[in-house]
Symmetry: C2
Subunit: 248 residues, 2 copies
Amino acid sequence: MGRVRYLEIAEALRAAILSGDYPVGAQLPSESDLAARWSASRGTVRQAVATLASEGLIGSRQGARRIVLRQERRHSFGELNSFAQWAEGVGHEVRSRFLSRTRRPATAEEAERLALAPGTEILAVLRLRLLDGEPTMVERTAYADWVAAAVEAMEPDCRSVMDGLAAGSAIVAHYGEHLIDALAAGSEDARLLGIRRGSPLLRQRHVSATNTGRPIEWSDDRYLAGSVTFSVSNSAVATPLERHAGDR
Amino acid sequence: MGRVRYLEIAEALRAAILSGDYPVGAQLPSESDLAARWSASRGTVRQAVATLASEGLIGSRQGARRIVLRQERRHSFGELNSFAQWAEGVGHEVRSRFLSRTRRPATAEEAERLALAPGTEILAVLRLRLLDGEPTMVERTAYADWVAAAVEAMEPDCRSVMDGLAAGSAIVAHYGEHLIDALAAGSEDARLLGIRRGSPLLRQRHVSATNTGRPIEWSDDRYLAGSVTFSVSNSAVATPLERHAGDR
DNA sequence: GGAGCCAACTTGTTCAGACAAGTGATTGCC
DNA sequence: GGCAATCACTTGTCTGAACAAGTTGGCTCC
């Protein structure tokens, strides 16, 4: 039980939706009903339902009762930023190995993404990730200079670098930005994943940052086609997903 | 401008960030400063900054001033849901043609996604989209029975079906869900896009719904690799993006 | 000079009340 | 029967106040 009232209410409503008490399309109780039932103010209830709305679970229109849009469990921030945390949360077995770990000057793009001076030395890591024993993803990550030492100290078969940083150095990711596109497998990708060159891959490039906005890592993850799908829900009031033109 | 105070404030702050008055990493004025400057209550200011936070522009931690995370313009809901609206917004020329438009019973998945009884007759549409004259995307859409007539009435070279529905029938999308993955081009995809079979494609499947939660369309859009990138920003408090395991 | 403490500042949470604006159903008129 | 006005209900916006909790920088003391 959190001591935070609105999260308590949000959690109870979320549980009620997931359990089917309020099926998709059903109306939620009115704000005043909920306020009375929880003996909270209307503002607190509004904060609770706003949380669920931002998760895409419910929708609302002025004048009409809130309705249930989806009936699904929500992933946490950690499950999106850490491949290992996600895989374990969904019940898959994950293995991975550092194939190479070298220090080198940052490329122009890496310096830009990591907010470092051009040419600063970063730690470049190449890893192959296995999901339930199958090669699934090739990960090429550039770690900022100030976390490089901590990453280098980790075991070669370390399951989650981000978990390790959080545990060992109290460095925790709070913000992320993700770029998703498709591309053909290069020769290294193909060799590692055991597929032919030119096979389709789903690429997720992402940067993670601390709560002060300081970038930690910039990563290029390439998934075997068909192995994973990304999903986003949006609404007229909250549009987290964007489309950009590529270079071609 | 808008008679809604908090949107006014949010807009002004957004403009200040985009124009560089507050560069990335800079601190925003405190809530009380802003409240005084706009002669608004602190609650209204908080609603304004919450808007920017949900857009990923700024971050906040209890006790410390809010900081600027990004410096980018935000897309609207319409620009994500309508290919034509997006393309025009970023200054590209878009063309498209209905290659086929046929009524047929919904498949199991289509009925599920559109919340229709199994076997209900839907309108299946196949379209090829050109960006600046280049074939870029193949779109296969199933329109729910109750909008089928309105879609059939449209011109064969209609640029935006969603715009047409909004203008002609006052049917407006308010909610959406998007599934993104990669796959190899099938023979029809390859012929339409002018590429070889097996070439990588970026697939975006999405369902659009009205403000009452009623699904309008379920679409399977396949982009040429390299032509577009999707982006999402997230934080520990707002995680709109999810990863799911595929069938393989 | 360095370590630890403290005080000012800032964001997070909650409350109670008020009015604006949109929705849905009922009512009454033609 | 159909149509329009009305009304109760519900969500959206805004205010002002209070206390909790985290951050930061300066100060004192050693």
